[in-house]
C-alpha cells in the first residue's frame, strides 16, 4: 500500500482546515486503504472532536473517521435545499422505526456541532443528582464536572449572548413574563457572530465555534488524519481487544458504499458516532453484551411544537435561532414525577416551517403566506427519569443500518398535552392573534380559552401529533455496574479492553437541556483520563 500522502484520494483542505493536513475523501479512493495509528475515533462531532484534540495533544497519533463530507464556511450558502441533504443524516428526514418522530442529526465533519443552533447549557444539576442517587453513578456530580465545563467554555468561546433576541425568541420571554414564568438567556459558542440566523445550515462566517473550526483543525495540525465519506462498519476483535475497524467508502453523495474498503488498525478505538451510530456499530460488530444493554434506553427529548401568528412581523428566519429558554417546567417538575419540559424557540426558515406545518393545499398555504408573522415555540420533554419513560431501542435493519424504535408512552403524551397548553398560553400572552398547536389537521384558535379546550380534547398519538427530536442520547450508558451500564466510569466498554465510547450515547437518561456542552465536558474528561493511560508514539499514522 502506498503512503496515503501519495494516494490520489488525498485531498488537501487548503486554508479551510489546516494547510497540508491529511484529509482523505474516501469517495474518491481508487483502491482499498489500510492505515494504522495509536487511536481510531469513529465520528467527528462533539465527542469525537474533543477526543481528537485531547489525544493528539498528548502526542498520540489519531485517525478520525467521518461518514459525512467535509464542508467549510465557503460552502455554507444558507440554503436549506443544499444543507439538509448534504449535512444531515438521511437528508434531515431520519425517523424512528414507526416514523412517528423526525430526528435531526448532523452527518458531516463536526457532526451536530456544525449544524446545531449553538445552545450551550451545563448539564442540569438535578440530572446529575439523579444519576448519582438513583443510578449510583459516581464521579459525575456537578462539582466533579465543573472544571471540565469551565475548560470547554473557554476552549469553545461559550458565553452570554449580548445581542437582543430576535422577535421569535423575544415572544417567549414576553409571553412567559406575562404569565409569571421565568426565562433565561441561552449561552452560545460563538465569536464574531453577526446574528445571521443560519446556524442550522452551517455557519458561513466561522463564527460558531463548532468542532469544524476548533478541535478538528487543532488535531490535524498535530498530525491527525481525517477520513471523510467513510462509514464505520465493524470492529474486528481478537479476544477482549479490538484489533481493527473496517469501513466502507461511500459514494460522493454519501448514499451507497463503493467497492472500496478501509481497514484501520490501532491500539485504542473510540466510538463517538452518536446515540444511534454508536449502538449501531457495537451491534453490527457483535461485541460481547451479556446483559443486553447496548442500544437500550435511548432518549430523544421528544419535542412538540406550537405555531402562532403575531400581529407584527416576527421574521424568525433571521437572528440567532435560540437565545431565550424557560426551565420553569423542568425545575417545578421533580425528576421522577410527571415529565418536565424545557421551552425554547426554533429558527423559521421556509422548508423547516413547511414540513412542520400540518396538512397541505389551501390551509397549509394560508399559514405559509404568513411566514413573516409566524412565531413558534418548542417544548423538549425530559425523558428517561421515570419507569414509564424507558426510552427507545436501537436495533439493526436488514442492511445493517441502525434504526431506533421509540414507543411514545402515555406518560410522554401527558407531558405533551401540558406543553401544548403552556405554549399556547404563552403565545396568547405575547399577543398572538392565532395559535395552532402542531397536531392533527392544524386548526388555529383565536382565543386562549378555545385553544385550551381543544388541547384538553386532543387525541395525542403517533403520526397524529408530530414529534421531533434533535437530541439523541443514551444507548451505551455510563456506570460501574455492567448489568445496567455499557461502559465503565472511564468510558471504557465493560467487556473489551481497548474500546471506549465518548459521545451522547453515554448518558444514562436524557439531560433536560441541549446536550452539546455536556458531551464536550464529559468527552474532555474521559479522553484526558484515557490519554494518561496511553503511551504516545507507539504508532505514527502510517499505511501498512
Amino acid at each position: 500500500m502506498n503512503d496515503p500522502m501519495d494516494a490520489p484520494a488525498l485531498r488537501h483542505a487548503a486554508n479551510d482546515l489546516v494547510r497540508g493536513a491529511r484529509v482523505i475523501d474516501a469517495s474518491t479512493l481508487d483502491r482499498d486503504l489500510t492505515l494504522e495509528a495509536d487511536v481510531v475515533i469513529v465520528g467527528s462531532g462533539a465527542g469525537g472532536g474533543i477526543a481528537a484534540e485531547t489525544l493528539s495533544e498528548a502526542g498520540l497519533s489519531v485517525i478520525m473517521v467521518e461518514e459525512g463530507p467535509l464542508r467549510t464556511a465557503r460552502e455554507f450558502r444558507m440554503s436549506e435545499a443544499e444543507a439538509y441533504p448534504d449535512l444531515y443524516q438521511d437528508s434531515a428526514a431520519r425517523t424512528t422505526k414507526d416514523k412517528a418522530i423526525n430526528i435531526l442529526q448532523g452527518r458531516c465533519v463536526g457532526g451536530g456541532t456544525t449544524v446545531n443552533w449553538t445552545s450551550s447549557f451545563r448539564t442540569p444539576p438535578a440530572t446529575l443528582a439523579y444519576w448519582a442517587q438513583a443510578l449510583h453513578l459516581d464521579g459525575f456530580a456537578a462539582e466533579d464536572l465543573a472544571p471540565w465545563f469551565a475548560r470547554m467554555e473557554t476552549r469553545l468561546s461559550i458565553g452570554p449572548w449580548n445581542m437582543a433576541p430576535n422577535a421569535n425568541n423575544e415572544a417567549l420571554a414576553r409571553g412567559a413574563a406575562a404569565i409569571g414564568i421565568r426565562t433565561g438567556t441561552i449561552r452560545r459558542n460563538v465569536t464574531g457572530c453577526v446574528n445571521l440566523g443560519y446556524c442550522g445550515m452551517g455557519c458561513p462566517l466561522d463564527a460558531k465555534q463548532s468542532m469544524l473550526v476548533t478541535t478538528i483543525p487543532a488535531a490535524l495540525g498535530r498530525g491527525a488524519t481525517l477520513i471523510t465519506r467513510a462509514q464505520a462498519q465493524t470492529l474486528v476483535r481478537d479476544g477482549d481487544r479490538v484489533r481493527a475497524l473496517t469501513c466502507a467508502a461511500m459514494d460522493a453523495k454519501g448514499v451507497r458504499p463503493t467497492t472500496r474498503r478501509i481497514t484501520l488498525r490501532a491500539e485504542t478505538f473510540i466510538s463517538a458516532a452518536g446515540g444511534i451510530g454508536t449502538p449501531g456499530l457495537l451491534l453490527r460488530s457483535h461485541v460481547p453484551d451479556p446483559y443486553a444493554v447496548v442500544g437500550k434506553r435511548t432518549f430523544l427529548h421528544p419535542t412538540v411544537v406550537s405555531a402562532a401568528l403575531m400581529p407584527d412581523e416576527v421574521g424568525g428566519y433571521y437572528g440567532a435561532p435560540q437565545t431565550i429558554y424557560s426551565d420553569h417546567f423542568v425545575e417545578t417538575m421533580p425528576v421522577g414525577g410527571p415529565i418536565g419540559f424545557k421551552l425554547e424557540a426554533p429558527p423559521l426558515h421556509p422548508v423547516l416551517a413547511a414540513i412542520t406545518l400540518p396538512n397541505h393545499g389551501a390551509p397549509h398555504a394560508h399559514w405559509m403566506r404568513r411566514l413573516p408573522n409566524l412565531q413558534v415555540l418548542i417544548a423538549l420533554l425530559r425523558d428517561g427519569f421515570h419507569p414509564a419513560s424507558p426510552g427507545g431501542t436501537v436495533t439493526l435493519s436488514s442492511d445493517g443500518t441502525p434504526v431506533l424504535d421509540y414507543p411514545l408512552t402515555s406518560y410522554v403524551w401527558e407531558g405533551a398535552r401540558r406543553a401544548f397548553r403552556t405554549m399556547a398560553e404563552i403565545q396568547f400572552a405575547a399577543g398572538a392573534a392565532q395559535v395552532m398547536p402542531i397536531h392533527g389537521d392544524g386548526t388555529g384558535y383565536r382565543e386562549w380559552s378555545a385553544a385550551r379546550a381543544a388541547i384538553d380534547e386532543f387525541t395525542l398519538a403517533p403520526l397524529v401529533t408530530p414529534v421531533v427530536s434533535a437530541h439523541v442520547m443514551g444507548g451505551c450508558p455510563l456506570g460501574a455496574d455492567p448489568h445496567r451500564a455499557a461502559v465503565d466510569t472511564a468510558g471504557r466498554y465493560h467487556h473489551l479492553a481497548n474500546l471506549y465510547v465518548f459521545d451522547a450515547s453515554l448518558f444514562p437518561t436524557s439531560l433536560g437541556a441541549n446536550p452539546q456542552l455536556s458531551i464536550f465536558a464529559i468527552a474532555a474528561r474521559l479522553s484526558s483520563g484515557l490519554a494518561a493511560t496511553l503511551v504516545p508514539g507507539e504508532r505514527t499514522v502510517h499505511a501498512s
Partner: protein, 177 residues
C-alpha cells in the same frame, strides 16, 4: 424479516400483489433517461407521473397563478423531489419504491388510494380525496406514507427561491466576503 409495508400488502391482497409489484417494477425496467427525474423513475417508472399529479394538489394555493409560471413551478418541484430521493438512504429509497408501486398498480391504486383512473387522468378532486384519506387514515402505515409525500413535496417547493416571494421570505442575507 417482515417489514410493516410487506405486512400491509400481504394483509390486504395476499402476497401475490407484492410479488407482482416487484416483478412489474423489474420487468418494466427503467424508462429511458428522464433527466432530472431519473432518481424517481428508478424507484418506479410511474413515480414521476404520480408526483407530477400530486404536486399541484398538495401545493394548491401556493403555486403561482400565471399558467406558465405554474407549469415551471410544478416541473421544478417534481425535479426537486427526484433530487431529494436520490440523496436518501437505500432503505428509505426502497420504501418509497414500494409506496410508488402500490400507487401505480391499478388494483392497489384503486383499493388503497381510491383513485379510479390512471394518475395522469385523475381529477384534482380525486387526488385531494386520496390525500385526505391517507392523511386521516386510521392505518398508521398510510399516515406515514402521507407524511413522506408531505415532506418531499413541501420541501421541494419551499426550498425553491421561486416560492419565496409569495411567502414573504426575503431569502438569505447577501454576505460581502
Amino acid at each position: 424479516m417482515t417489514t410493516r409495508r410487506t405486512f400491509l400488502v400481504v394483509g390486504l391482497a395476499g402476497g401475490a400483489t407484492l410479488v407482482a409489484a416487484d416483478w412489474l417494477r423489474r420487468t418494466r425496467g427503467r424508462s429511458p433517461a428522464l433527466g432530472a427525474n431519473a432518481a424517481l423513475a428508478t424507484l418506479d417508472p410511474a413515480a414521476p407521473a404520480i408526483v407530477a399529479a400530486i404536486v399541484p394538489v398538495m401545493l394548491d394555493g401556493a403555486l403561482p397563478a400565471d399558467p406558465a409560471d405554474r407549469r415551471a413551478a410544478v416541473t421544478e418541484t417534481v425535479a426537486n423531489v427526484a433530487r431529494a430521493v436520490s440523496g436518501l438512504a437505500p432503505n428509505a429509497q426502497k420504501e418509497l419504491g414500494e409506496l410508488f408501486s402500490l400507487l401505480s398498480l391499478p388494483p392497489t391504486r384503486v383499493a388503497l388510494a381510491g383513485v379510479m383512473t390512471p394518475w395522469a387522468d385523475a381529477s384534482p378532486e380525486a387526488i385531494a380525496a386520496f390525500l385526505e384519506r391517507w392523511r386521516t387514515s386510521g392505518w398508521m402505515l398510510l399516515r406515514s406514507a402521507y407524511d413522506a409525500l408531505h415532506q418531499l413535496v413541501l420541501a421541494a417547493w419551499y426550498g425553491n427561491p421561486r416560492a419565496w416571494p409569495s411567502i414573504g421570505y426575503p431569502g438569505p442575507p447577501v454576505l460581502a466576503r
